[in-house]
Amino acid sequence: MMNCKQATRAIEQANEHRLSWLKRLELRFHLLICKSCMLFHKQWEILERLLSDPSSSSQRLSEEDKSSILIKIEKEIHKS
């Protein structure tokens, strides 16, 4: 039987289709009976969506930062 440590690793491998059908079956069964691993799995899915979505975070530069970038670029371009 697959334990939680193996199951959490297998979730990752299943996503990339790197599991044999037998292991996939074992993983499915484990997730069916283990609330903790199922929760781990579901939460990570949310996290993955957040990570790959560029609109989920938008840090901005201050006007000051932008003008200092402009000054440095100008200096660099005129150097050559």
Binding site: E12, L50, S52, S57, I69
Partner: protein, 186 residues
Amino acid sequence: MISESDLKTWVLDYSDPLYSYIFKRVGDDELAKDLVQETFIAAYKNRDKFRENSNPLAWLYTIIKHKMIDHFRAKKRKPTDSLDDQPHIDAILFNSKGHWTQAPSSAFFSSDMDEAERKEFWSFLQLCQNDLSEQQKMAFVFKYMEGWSSKRICKELDISSSNYWVLIHRAKLKLRQCLENNWLNK
């Protein structure tokens, strides 16, 4: 061909999305600003390669992506302190039978986070990302932010596939645990 005034407009229009992109990956404000700046300089120096009517931001993203990979490669070459004397996260979270010693908390984030919670999430993520080893960080960024395949990451990090699964599993467990701790103690 881009003129100097085009470049200025680009800085004003595109430095925010570029900064947001690179900051999430390198997790360092100063470094992120430097890379944004270098990206514009590289764009100007290679201005003859830019085709009119193509999307400037897409082109700038291509440049900054290369800058990010170069940055990680350079960091990988530098020897860092060995973390091997610390117990691995999987030895902390699971007992000898492979069962959770500390089960994941259901109070940890959900899909309906509001704007403020999302902001908090990203600041915790930055904190926790910097807690990972250099190799774990690279694997994490390449896999979850860049969407690289395990094969490509193995090649980039020069590791075997079995090493990769151990690495990504530990990175995931460590990051998740750190996020949860920060989230529950906020």
